[in-house]
Amino acid sequence: MTTPDGLDIQDTVLLDCEHVSLSFGSVRALVDVSIHARQGEITALVGDNGAGKSTLVRCIAGIHRSDDGYIVFDGEKINFHSPEDARRAGIETVHQNLALIEDLTVWQNLFLNRELVRRLGPIALLDRRAMQQKAREMVATLAVNVPAVKSRVRRLSGGQRQAVAICRAAGFSSQLVIMDEPTAALGVQETARVEELIIKLRDEGHAVLLISHNFAQVMRLSNQIWIMRAGQCVGGRRTAETTGEEIVALITGAQAQ
């Protein structure tokens, strides 16, 4: 199912960060970080609070620009000036706060800032019916527990909201989906459903970059794990070849490389 390690890596590597560094004033948030993520795989990024996971992800998503090093996405060096650039290139982020508008409907959120319009001369009117139709299709391909597309987000449970945010990230022909703590606020059952959704994303060929504090979840879902500590990447492991204990040891610094 997966490519044997060491063979043809270049074919499947979608995202490759090389020697990425970033400082905020005197704070060195990222120091010479090199990681990669492959197509059709779930790549986990673990580390303690303040280890630099979110900062790295923000560099990939076009929110920050690295001071040093480079990031290659889909064979090209990236030069994003905004999250919009990243989205256009095919990198979608499911934000920790989900970035949903509570008083808008599910379909309006799915198409937020990417609304479909019909042009009548100089006037562009929303094509509500087309968006609702496409929203239903988007939801149907992934649907585990997403409610009717016409319901307002305010009425949804935490898991349903997460599902809407993931659907939005999965749509629009994205190649890489970044998820920051997707199940942190969810109950056991809802977590299981969202995990199903993440696996579905992978099986459809998306690359998933997952930030999680939940080791059991990381071991369950991921194919590759990168461990960060104090702004540095202190190691990478194939999930199949490591144990939870080793990962914890790397995170805390009890074990070096």
């Binding site: 509570e102 309006q108 009117l125």
Partner: protein, 324 residues
Amino acid sequence: MTSATLIGQDTEPWTARIRDVGFWADWAAVIGLVVLVAVFGVLNPTFLSIGNIESMLVAAAILIVLAVGQTFVVATAGIDLSIASTMTLAAVVFGQGFLHGWGVPLSALAAIVAGGLVGLINGVLIARGRITDFIVTLGTLSAASGAALILADGKPVTVINGFMLRLSTNGIGILGWSFIIAAVVAVLAHVVLFHTRFGTHVFATGGQPEAARAMGISTQRVKIGVYMISGVLAGLGAILLVARIGAAEPAANTAFLLNSVAAVVLGGVSLFGGRGNIVGPVVGALLLTALVNGLTLLGVSQFYQPLSVGIVVVLAALLTRYQR
């Protein structure tokens, strides 16, 4: 199952809905208007005469236009306190243009441009200067009325013109031209709010600005946009005002400010932003006009009018707490 209850929302029996306070909150303006019309209609038969309805609709026109502008601002969780002073300034600009022989079309254009400019200043200060809406528009409230006084040198300009006279007195059937203009504005505003990308972004900006920015929406541009809409509509209101009173006065017009906010609140638009509609504020404006008109017909002293408007508005605001 959660999704099952979600779909159930729309099909609950009307008896259950009537017992729900949220239902009354959503329809406060319409219910209030119906009750008022019924009460005044019974107390004074003149209230429902064709002539009186005609004059009420004309009287409501300016407030409708302002309330529509205020709705856009409030939907982004802002408030335009300068809306009435902007109208005053635009009216004075119209008067000065007319005085200097620019003719009606050019003077009207100047009034609308002046209103739009004040809106632009509001928007830029709020969006780029990151100053609270309340403070900025409180500042322009004072600045615009001051500019109006300076420009007019404190004196009104009488505007005697056939076109302006017809604007305020003629119409189609019982619908005066100024009311028709207000209705067209309301319909256009509804289309913009619910059928354009800008409208969706207005609600997104008012509801969850962080989320809107994360999805690449320029909330700054949306903010500037809504204040410009408010300013331009204040300019349009100024033209209707000049037509109505036959003069361009540098007067304060404070009642228009309070009533425009009142109409928006009555219309069920949340002052916290993110949700709103156009029909509600329009009905709210009609209600406030009917209230003042009815009290006048009943011979209640003018002094009681601001008091009654205040009570109605606070009651409506209380009701919106129960909004669904």
